[in-house]
């Protein structure tokens, strides 16, 4: 089985990235939820990078001329999926942020009014 230089580099990079992702989870810098996509992506790219017969079959099926391109195409597909997923997630977080900011504003006003009422009651008590 002959591995091209590109395949070896891609596969090693994928393994390295997978290890880095797992380490990020260990250090609580990355949540398990987000790590899944990354681990999945790196595993697929690594498998394609190492196993030439599978890669050759897929490359032929897709009509791609060069096997290295298949690896990059798969990587790119994962990156695109990941970015879209993050955009959706971010939109939801910004929506929640919106709601929270408004909620806090109302609570602030309520506190202020309660304080005002309390002060007024104290003044009445003193008078």
């Amino acid at each position: 089985m002959f591995l091209s230089r590109t395949q070896v580099i891609v596969a090693l990079a994928a393994v390295g990235l997978a290890l880095f992702v797992l380490d990020l989870v260990r250090r609580r810098k990355l949540s398990e939820e987000y790590s899944l996509l990354w681990v999945l992506a790196t595993v697929v790219v690594a498998v394609l990078g190492f196993s030439t017969p599978l890669l050759r079959t897929i490359t032929r099926a897709l009509g791609i001329l060069y096997e290295g391109s298949t690896v990059f195409a798969v990587g790119l597909a994962f990156a695109t999926a990941g970015l879209l997923y993050l955009s959706v997630k971010m939109s939801r977080i910004s929506f929640e942020n919106h709601a929270l900011t408004r909620e806090v504003a109302f609570l602030r006003l309520a506190v202020q009014e309660l304080r005002g009422d309390a002060a007024a009651a104290r003044d009445r008590g003193n008078a």
């Binding site: 919106h98 900011t101 408004r102 806090v104 504003a105 006003l109 009014e113």
Partner: protein
């Protein structure tokens, strides 16, 4: 309908300089209406200035944009039982003397949203070219969507009925107070009307729209207008 049925909502973002004059002008023009300042994440003590003028303040911890500020104002108005909410810019562009004209059609039950327009009658206001082109574009979009002309789709000087505020308070085209809002309101069966008002150049402070937002605004507004058309009105 007593004057206390009316709440003037003043969205303000870093408006320390112009807010006192705006609040004073409202007091002079309409001494009996209630005023609420929505401080939209200002960094310059806008909230404090408003409070020293004896006005209730809703202060957002971070900037949400005009739409978010307006939505908070609507919620306040709904919770406290106001019949009409008026949106009036803090920067002194909107003349409180026009309040009566803006309120009349709503009080007489002739419409649900009354828009203060710079273009119904000559007002002396002349916007920069890019702004005029943008307004022309959105006027066209609204015309296509609703089959009728709204001369000033980007006017931030509007009065809303309680029914409109009830709907907008929880379902609002997120930070799109312009064409998309008008389209979505009209599709819900609310009646829109325009009355002529005078607009001035902003007295001080910075516009909500920075350069980046100016470029992004047309895209966002077109897309949101389209979505307002595609969504089933609830």
């Amino acid at each position: 309908m007593s004057p206390h049925d009316v709440l003037v909502i003043v969205p303000a973002h870093n408006e320390v300089e112009s807010l006192p004059a705006t609040l004073a002008a409202i007091r002079r023009a309409a001494p009996a209406v209630d005023v609420l300042v929505v401080d939209d994440g200002s960094k310059d003590g806008t909230s404090e200035v408003a409070r020293t003028h004896g006005v209730p303040v809703l202060s957002h911890a971070v900037n949400l944009g005009v739409g978010g500020a307006l939505q908070s104002g609507f919620r306040y108005a709904v919770e406290r039982g106001y019949a009409i909410g008026v949106q009036l810019d803090a920067d002194g562009q909107h003349d409180p003397a026009d309040l009566g004209a803006l309120l009349a059609p709503l009080r007489e039950g002739r419409c649900d949203v009354c828009i203060g327009s710079r273009y119904v009658a000559r007002s002396g206001y002349r916007a920069p070219l890019a702004r005029r082109l943008g307004m022309l574009l959105f006027s066209g979009v609204v015309r296509l969507a609703l089959g009728r002309r709204i001369s000033d789709t980007t006017s931030g000087y509007r009065a809303y009925s309680l029914a409109v505020m009830r709907v907008c308070e929880h379902d609002f085209p997120k930070d799109f107070p312009d064409a998309p809002l008008l389209i979505s309101l009209a599709r819900r069966g609310f009646r829109l009307q325009e009355v002529p008002v005078t607009m001035r150049e902003r007295a001080a402070g910075q516009s909500f729209y920075t350069l980046g937002k100016k470029l992004y605004y047309p895209y966002k507004n077109l897309l949101a207008s389209l979505m307002a058309l595609l969504r089933r009105p609830a």
